[in-house]
């Protein structure tokens, strides 16, 4: 504004200056907020219309649903969070309900809850066979098939992931882990160490492993390879085949189809 004042008056000046800066800042901020708010409400109403227009497609078409969810995600709207937190209470209070319950009539969160229930069921049923590790893809196939006739749910991998994430607030210990390039649902709250993950990745590629294979391919010590395999075996993550020339260890990931 001006050069620095001298003497006692300078202090007064400076306070004044800070004050006017502050008010100006507040002004700017409020106009900013206001304009953002308008933008947001415009955007919301647009999203509303879009979701309403395409609600049936969103519900029935898994690919479309995934894309829609992805779009919401990139712009920072989490359909699940919105319906999770406010959904139930709002409905009880007789208000409009959450954004999503308003649009989809509660179907959207119910849908994900339904999927989540199926996933939990499946994980529990198969825990003894796969040690609590199940591929997202296998899981999707199974949920898609359903148990009773006509109970299959057309879902995408994305829906499964979303459903598993919706369980997080429950502290259920369900998590998504990445082994190699494949995503798994871990239903036992236990971490895999790097060696274990590596072995599982090798099994993914080759179908099975043996101690000598690990020694050859990863140049591990025999003891190291054996320990990792023993750990995996103890956790029920691999099955042993002792009828070959060397003990082979297989992943039970493809067994799901018949455990009805």
């Amino acid at each position: 504004m001006s050069r620095r004042g001298v003497g006692i008056g300078a202090f007064a000046n400076r306070t004044q200056a800070t004050q006017s800066y502050a008010t100006h800042g507040a002004n700017l901020r409020s106009t900013h907020t206001a304009s953002l708010q308008t933008q947001l409400s415009v955007f919301q109403s647009l999203l509303h219309t879009f979701a309403l227009e395409h609600s049936s497609t969103i519900k029935s078409n898994p690919t479309f649903r995934a894309e829609f969810a992805r779009m919401c995600n990139t712009i920072g709207v989490d359909p699940l969070a919105a319906s999770n937190i406010k959904g139930k209470n709002a409905r009880r209070l007789g208000e409009g309900g959450s954004f999503w319950t308003q649009i989809m009539g509660g179907d959207m969160n119910d849908f994900y809850f339904e999927v989540a229930v199926r996933v939990v069921e499946l994980c529990r049923e198969t825990r003894s066979e796969n040690g609590g590790l199940i591929g997202v893809e296998e899981c999707r196939k199974r949920v898609g098939k359903g148990k009773a006739i006509g109970s299959g749910l057309q879902v995408s991998d994305d829906d499964i992931l979303r459903a598993v994430r919706s369980l997080e607030p429950l502290g259920s210990g369900f998590s998504i882990i990445l082994v190699g390039s494949k995503q798994y649902i871990r239903s036992i709250p236990k971490e895999l160490n790097t060696d274990q993950a590596t072995v599982l990745e090798v099994i993914q590629l080759l179908g099975f492993v043996s101690v000598s294979m690990l020694r050859l391919n990863l140049s591990w010590e025999k003891a190291r390879a054996q320990t990792v395999i023993d750990d995996l075996l103890a956790d029920g993550l691999v099955w042993l085949d002792a009828q070959g020339p060397e003990k082979e260890y297989w992943s039970p990931q493809n067994l799901l189809d018949d455990s009805r």
Binding site: S128, L240, D241, Q243, S259
Partner: protein, 191 residues
């Protein structure tokens, strides 16, 4: 009494059957339990498909049931016995829900009933059939029930005689039937 009747359609093996470790007893108890359960289901499905009520393990270890020729894996006699042993136990004992019963329990344990339907369940089926066809109060021979034309469409048609008698005994205990006559020529009256 034919124990091995071959049906025209091949038995559809579950994917587990092509999983090599399926034929090795699993060292992990939880996994082992799951494995035994799968074996139990497979044996029941196999027997049901072949309309087989008793399983002779000594013969069966060389059939495709226990011997996967493509994988060159097999369940040997000792292991097959372990599976049937497990099937014999009730679920409370940590077994397979009494889905099998040794016929020679004291002996070498080589022949067992495989209950893809337990006698009590067969009893239900028979009494339903009797009621559905209006044969309540009438007298039938066991031969008629098993081999007669009237039961041709029923699942128990051509069933093991001994098993049919066992099932009828269940109905007797429930007060729904009476069995009389000498061995081999039993008749039965339904109430």
């Amino acid at each position: 009494m034919a124990t091995t009747t071959t049906t025209s359609t091949p038995f559809p093996f579950p994917p587990t059957y092509n999983f090599p470790p399926f034929f090795t007893p699993q060292p992990n108890t939880t996994t082992r339990h799951s494995q035994l359960h799968k074996w139990s289901l497979l044996i029941q499905a196999w027997c049901r498909h072949h309309r087989q009520y008793r399983l002779n393990l000594i013969e069966a270890v060389d059939t495709p049931l226990f011997h996967n020729a493509a994988l060159r894996k097999r369940l040997d006699l000792r292991e097959a016995r372990a599976v049937v042993d497990w099937m014999c136990k009730s679920e409370e004992e940590g077994g397979g829900g009494r889905r099998a019963e040794w016929i020679d329990a004291d002996g070498q344990k080589s022949v067992a009933w495989v209950w893809w339907r337990r006698p009590e369940e067969w009893a239900d089926v028979v009494s339903e059939w009797v009621e559905g066809t209006g044969q309540k109060g009438s007298v039938l021979t066991v031969y008629e029930i098993v081999q007669g034309e009237g039961s041709a469409s029923q699942e128990f048609h051509g069933m093991d005689f001994e098993l049919m008698l066992k099932s009828l005994q269940v109905l007797v205990k429930r007060g729904k039937a009476q069995v009389f006559g000498s061995e081999g020529q039993e008749g039965v009256k339904f109430f």
